[in-house]
Symmetry: C2
Subunit: 335 residues, 2 copies
């Protein structure tokens, strides 16, 4: 690893960019140490924002690009725009060993395709997986795959166990990865054949990276007994989005209860501090930063609609996985 650590930032992707990406960098500079940012995008606009947010010019390097990928681009049309986009060049900097991790809040499909075009897979891993953090009662889960692969075989799910465990270790070095397969029951005979075969193989496999805990059901994801949850990309995506939708539904109902009457408002004011803590624990910006695992360089996807606080958090994820030697950990354990 280089010294200092360098993060490649696609400044132009996502809603309200580059304003939020540059403000996010500014927020991250206040808590990070020994980090530099290679920023890809429209230099004039970015320079104005660098001044606006008071970012030290020593910490940054701007690479001007005229073109950028829009959310409306298909993966194919994005790739056809060629090398001169902020997203492509940011990923290429990883390939050229100029940077240590890259992050974009832009078009997810384009990020996948351009990352796969430019970067190698880690040896012996067949498919990349999208993984993210998901809170539980005791801390955080790593959940994967969240949508990179609609269908997965046994080998993929076993690879996900290893990659997810390495990610957990890189992010939280004191935690022991506890792997479980997402299923519709806890008995060995439940689920489809792929899941049952994976269960058999993981039960027999010996490894020092993680403990295998069998199956987990959807209602146990947030219990905190497991911290690496393995599933195919279809199921993982539905589960994650269903959890988001449920959280939104409940918090909007709660808002109504707390603000539509005078008594509700008074009550909220009195309990302001505790409600704030409650809100913070559920704030999706704190979990922002999904990791595309399986490539031989760290590629991080920020939520497109997050704000500067959320984007800063995805930069924290970049920093942690570089310093936690994520890619080395996966390579050590995959064989």
């Amino acid at each position: 690893m280089k010294n200092p650590t360098i993060i490649a930032v696609d400044a132009m992707g996502g809603e309200n960019s580059p304003n939020k990406t540059i403000e996010g960098i500014s927020l991250h500079t206040k808590v990070s140490t020994n980090i530099k940012y290679k920023i890809y995008g429209n230099k004039n606009i970015i320079l104005d924002l660098i001044s606006k947010y008071n970012i030290s010019k020593e910490k940054i390097d701007i690479i001007h690009t005229e073109k950028q990928i829009e959310d409306t681009d298909s993966a194919l049309s994005a790739a056809k725009k060629g090398r001169d986009t902020s997203l492509w060049l940011a990923i290429e900097s990883l390939k050229n060993n100029e940077t240590d991790a890259m992050v974009s809040a832009g078009n997810t499909g384009a990020l996948f395709v351009i990352a796969k075009l430019n970067l190698k897979m880690i040896e012996n891993i067949d498919k990349p997986a999208l993984s993210a953090l998901w809170p539980n009662k005791n801390g955080m889960n790593v959940v994967l795959d969240l949508g990179a692969n609609v269908e997965c075989n046994e080998k993929n799910l076993i690879d996900f166990s290893i990659m997810g465990s390495a990610l957990l270790k890189a992010l939280f070095e004191n935690e022991t990865p506890k792997v479980a397969i997402l299923n519709i029951g806890s008995e060995e005979f439940k689920g489809n054949n792929i899941i049952k075969n994976t269960y058999q193989k993981l039960s027999q496999a010996k490894n020092s990276l993680y403990e295998f805990h069998g199956y987990i059901e959807g209602n146990q994801i947030m219990d905190g007994n497991i911290n690496v949850i393995v599933t195919d990309g279809f199921t993982g995506n539905v589960a994650l989005k269903t959890a988001e939708g449920t959280a939104n539904f409940i918090t909007s109902e709660l808002k109504i209860a707390m603000s539509t009457t005078l008594l509700g408002k008074i009550s909220s004011l009195i309990n302001f501090k505790n409600i704030k803590k409650f809100k913070q624990k559920l704030d999706p910006r704190l979990y922002n930063g999904a990791i595309l695992l399986g490539l031989d360089k760290p590629v991080i996807k920020s939520h497109g609609s997050t704000d500067a606080v959320g984007f800063a958090n995805s930069l924290k994820v970049c920093e942690k996985i570089i310093k936690g030697h994520l890619i080395d950990k996966i390579k050590e354990n995959i064989n």
Copy 2:
């Protein structure tokens, strides 16, 4: 349909039964009209509870059974117990046209197997599906399948659209069923082949029962724009349980915010009424009562761990689907 309507109740299944099932009947008698209950289980215990909960003897008929199915029974061992269990006899009463719907809070696997052994499938339906109510911002969704079938083909998903729409119409006669397939994106090309083929067929099919609205993602389930959500039993089960787990996590965090400090407690007291309304809207007992669709008689599964209020709600579901002519609606539309 007979006059009065008769509901068959397996009194012995589920936690804390028959106490909760009989108390549930008592609660239901207070809001129902022209309903009788055929109650299957231990006559002596049930008679004591009938007195305890002041249920008019004219409304009930008790069929004594010595044996009952335990939650620990496998579906096979349950079926092997034979005809003399409360669950089996309650289902058999449907076959013999002695009752109009049946409900049990007992062993789900046993309920499925014994129902399939005793009852016919509706003509042209290949697989039964488990469906339940799921709240949304504007009212209620019907979601199916929630776990009866791990894998489903196009024909099954199309059948689910019809059965789910008929159920919605039977429960809420003024609603127009709006069907969507649960998927990981809204574009036509997303998802696996089964989903894509189903999308094509439903787009082309003409029917007067429901509107087809394409795909729905997990985060949109509770938005209220769709009210019949179709998916395979694996995905549906994971989604439902994930929503339950998320709701439990949030409400337990909220409880902490509202009760660990004196200010929190005072605030809750002040806003008591609104918080109560909020809690009621999220109370899972109000949505209790899953329906096994596809059989030619109405079989309803109450949650095993619900209480008398929840069990009474599953009796309301029985009443509504009998009076809403659910089975006839499915038969009319399946061809």
